[in-house]
């Protein structure tokens, strides 16, 4: 039986390794907060350039290692997941080009309200379906919560979109916790203690930067980064804090996917396919998984090249397409709980 990637690099299943994991998280978080607070735009550019592609690949590798080889009774769940992931991404990509044909800002409110509503109802349906399969749980709360969110969405359509921007990076921390629960449960207390540093650092960033001068930079990339952090809607606080906070969370997210989850969650070295259920079916499935992973590496290299050629356009296209992976995390996470 092949050793896990973590064991291969010397990370053994000992209790003190939980402290090592927590310490790694703390170091990543502190370094991210310092750099993000000091030079948010430059750090955002650098971190997206370096880690956007690799973190997607690591995520795909991890998901492949956890997906069942056959859908079986879960075919309905996986079908709805696939339809939602592709459909919502396509709709999200289409909205800007549709809006460019009009000048009505009100239209944007309605369109993003519809998209956000579809997104919430998709998740609610997935949770409901998940609650009906083993291990079952009472999913009756999902519909009231979903409709509360819908009410909030239609009162302020863009607030939900901005909330997703800030909440999505936390998904990685939650997934790591679920992985620890499965593979290294005695590390969880140390991990939970380490997690406290994230809200603490956010508070420190807010304390230091909430009334800082507006970020300089008139170029399209700087403006895109500021708008991504929501400075056009969250106007009561300095955009220096917003960009710093968003960049900090994104970097922690990248750190978890590129460093921590591979060390803990891969049941083998990344290039070993034996622990990927789909690949174990053999034949065309094994070849398909291999091609997918190799194609993913190619995409990472192409992404780096495109960033070097035209960072602004590549960044915009990446964050539209990357919605795919954000959406894919959701049904995957639901299967882990």
């Amino acid at each position: 039986m092949s050793s896990s990637f973590g064991e291969a690099v010397g990370l053994h299943a000992k209790r003190d390794s939980g402290a090592l994991l927590a310490a790694s998280l703390v170091v990543i978080a502190i370094a991210s907060a310092l750099l993000a607070g000091w030079m948010p735009i430059a750090f955002s550019i650098a971190t997206v350039f370096l880690f956007a592609g690799p973190h997607n690949w690591c995520e795909a590798r991890y998901i492949l290692g956890r997906l069942p080889a056959r859908a079986g009774k879960l075919w309905g769940f996986f079908t709805l997941s696939f339809v939602g992931i592709v459909g919502l991404t396509a709709a999200f990509a289409y909205i800007p080009s549709y809006l460019q044909n009009t000048s009505e800002v009100l239209e944007a409110d309605t369109l993003y309200g519809v998209w956000n509503s579809a997104f919430v109802l998709w998740i609610a349906t997935l949770i409901w379906m998940r609650s009906r399969t083993n291990p079952r749980f009472d999913g009756g709360w999902v519909w009231p919560v979903a409709f509360f969110l819908l009410a909030g969405i239609w009162l302020h359509p863009f607030a939900f979109s901005i909330a997703i921007v800030y909440l999505h990076p936390l998904m990685a921390l939650w997934l790591l916790d679920r992985e620890l629960r499965r593979s290294h449960p005695d590390w969880r207390p140390a991990y939970h203690a380490g997690l406290l540093v994230v809200p603490l650092l956010l508070i420190v960033l807010f304390w230091q930067l909430h009334d800082a001068p507006v970020l300089p930079g008139d170029d399209p990339v700087s403006l895109a980064i500021q708008q991504h952090a929501g400075d056009w809607i969250l106007t009561s606080v300095s955009n220096h804090f917003l960009v710093a906070a968003h960049t900090f969370l994104e970097t922690v997210h990248y750190g978890v996917w590129v460093i921590l989850i591979p060390l803990i969650g891969y049941r083998s070295k990344p290039w070993e396919l034996n622990t990927i259920p789909a690949a174990r079916r053999g034949g065309a499935w094994r070849r398909g998984v291999m091609i997918l992973l190799l194609f993913g590496l190619l995409i990472v290299a192409v992404l780096w090249a495109c960033f070097l050629m035209d960072y602004g356009t590549t960044r915009y296209i990446y964050f539209v397409v990357a919605l795919l992976h954000v959406l894919a995390e959701i049904p995957f996470f639901l299967r882990m709980i």
Partner: protein, 205 residues
């Protein structure tokens, strides 16, 4: 784990209500202050314009409706769309359809939530009632808190002012730019010639 999650999401949804309600209140206009001011004459300009650095005021820049990377304007600066708020006492109109959809969603949330709370086997009434009252309490308290923040500023009563001679009466482009510390008034040839001829007496009312 589920109850804290439920509470968090309910609070988020309910908490948006007073925030949005309060968001209708326009921020007060900034205090008056001295700034650098330059009047330039550009005989080749197609129209006059007033260039105001964003650092001197506090406009909100919305992303261009089409989204995407902001387009480049002259000199590599991005072209932005901005909202210039008019009368500070006037609250922006809310989309009636959005409000109706939100109302239906609230009703469905409360209705389905109540039925779920009541029908849960085992621990039913007490915890569920506490959850519902807590959610309602958040809504009520936050609304009252925002209510205590004060009413929207009312339009100031018009006072009689002395009408001054007018040196220039026409239209110009208001342009907000990032960076800089000087407000520039760029006059085209026509506007400059009009100013050179001298001010006109105000039309009395």
């Amino acid at each position: 784990m589920r109850y804290p999650l439920l509470t968090v999401f309910a609070v988020f949804g309910l908490g948006l209500v007073p925030h949005v309600a309060f968001a209708d209140l326009a921020p007060p206009p900034p205090a008056a202050k001295e700034v650098k001011f330059v009047v330039e004459v550009d005989e080749k300009a197609k129209g006059s314009k007033l260039i105001v650095p964003q650092t001197l005021v506090n406009p909100r820049f919305r992303p261009a409706p089409g989204g995407g990377v902001p387009k480049e304007g002259n000199g590599g600066l991005a072209v932005l769309e901005y909202e210039v708020e008019g009368d500070a006492a006037v609250e922006p109109a809310r989309n009636r359809n959005h409000l109706m959809i939100a109302g239906v969603a609230f009703t469905l949330a409360l209705g389905l939530g109540g039925i779920w709370i009541v029908r849960r086997t085992g621990r039913s009434g007490a915890r569920g009632l506490a959850l519902l009252v807590a959610a309602g309490g958040v809504l009520a308290v936050s609304t009252v808190v925002w209510a205590n923040a004060g009413p929207p500023p009312k339009p100031k009563e018009k006072k009689e002012v002395m009408l001054l001679p007018v040196a220039f009466d026409g239209k110009l482009t208001l342009e907000m730019v990032r960076g800089g510390d000087t407000i520039k008034l760029v006059l085209d040839k026509e506007a400059y010639d009009a100013i050179k001829t001298g001010p006109k007496k105000p039309e009395g009312k």
